[in-house]
Symmetry: C2
Subunit: 259 residues, 2 copies
Amino acid sequence: MQIGIFDSGVGGLTVLKEMAQSFASEDFYYLGDTARLPYGTKSPETIRQYAEQIMDFLAARKVDAIVIACNTASSQVPETLWKNIPVFNVIEPGAEAAVKATRSKRLGVLATRATVRSNSYTDKIHSFDKDIQVFAKSAPLLVGLAEEGWVDDPITDAVVARYLEPLLKNDIDTLILGCTHYPLLVSAIRKACGDKIRLIDSGSAICGKLAEKMSLKASEPTYINEIHFHATDLTAHTRILAQQILKPLVITEFDIVHL
Amino acid sequence: MQIGIFDSGVGGLTVLKEMAQSFASEDFYYLGDTARLPYGTKSPETIRQYAEQIMDFLAARKVDAIVIACNTASSQVPETLWKNIPVFNVIEPGAEAAVKATRSKRLGVLATRATVRSNSYTDKIHSFDKDIQVFAKSAPLLVGLAEEGWVDDPITDAVVARYLEPLLKNDIDTLILGCTHYPLLVSAIRKACGDKIRLIDSGSAICGKLAEKMSLKASEPTYINEIHFHATDLTAHTRILAQQILKPLVITEFDIVHL
């Protein structure tokens, strides 16, 4: 089976990695819209238009499923079919996993400006359980810090701590990492949160959903999946970062795409 | 006279502000390519293609001059004519002002990844004086910090100090702010540099050049210039930030443009 995945940049590779390690015999077409990154500060109309162009591109590659591995784009594209291909976004499985995890019914969401503004997580969480209180915070600098590679770094710790402060004050017991870049900063997030808060990573959450809906079987990782990496802009920095995130998986093909 | 100006985002407004305050009777057409921001991490081909689309847009508005108020785009577009309209970039006046300012012939350049990679400042500086040593450092997080509005902030101070450290170690006596967003962070930069280092802001530098080449007369600011603000994506955050940067100048028109 061939799975299409897209994100505004390389962050969605954290989702691809989870999937490739869970589903050893599937191949992947990834598109990172690096020329137009970041999505998190753009308007809903622009984000939707970009997502549709990308889904057309993936449909033309005859993928069997499309995963929107970008929370911002997920917040603008309703989960449905695109040219008869099933489309999965990261919001629903992330929200569902968080609803199952919380005990105190006080949930935090850390996300981009556009995702927070869209209210997607709050709405989805309330569709499962209306009694849950949701506290959302936008964190626009985290993508830049992850892309800079300042992963284990006091500056990143300080930025993360500042963004998390209002959520922690509200006594959340579960935190949704509402952007696929954030798993790259998990050690700073863990430091700021302490041990008692459950972290929900949509990459892990979506694997369960995909297994269920597409009848995929989870297996031990083999690291032999074919991974086609397409980007709308492709610098040396992007190639290196992409391969670094996916390691020990190997990118089979790098390709630049003009949408 | 009508002057066209463009940048990847709102940073170029620091240049527009300098010009509107120097040239009280001119009007301005600004284009911020906010849908595709930032340029600093993109490839030369992509940046050049975007700049040409924007110069076509400004030419259609019948501007008398085009100012590339973006160091990254300046580094990819040679200063010349576009459809018979004179084009000015920020690299040359910035380099020239820095060459005049340095005593020790040790110059620092703080810029985006793409501008540093292009070697534009170094090449231009050496075209004036081959004996000058140029130390360049890319600072990809500063645009995000400026756009977040964390201007007078210990986190920004720490990020700026880290980026400047290798330049200060090299005993520079003059620093080029090689991105039009950086004047927004001048207080953090001044703190990290101390009082002895001269700061060169390309926005001020280009006013002299424009006055000379276009026979413009500098005058006291009147704050009655017409300012047309076009953006490829226009969120509430962008409107507020744009007006904040230009204050006390007033934006006459906000408009969204699809290129």
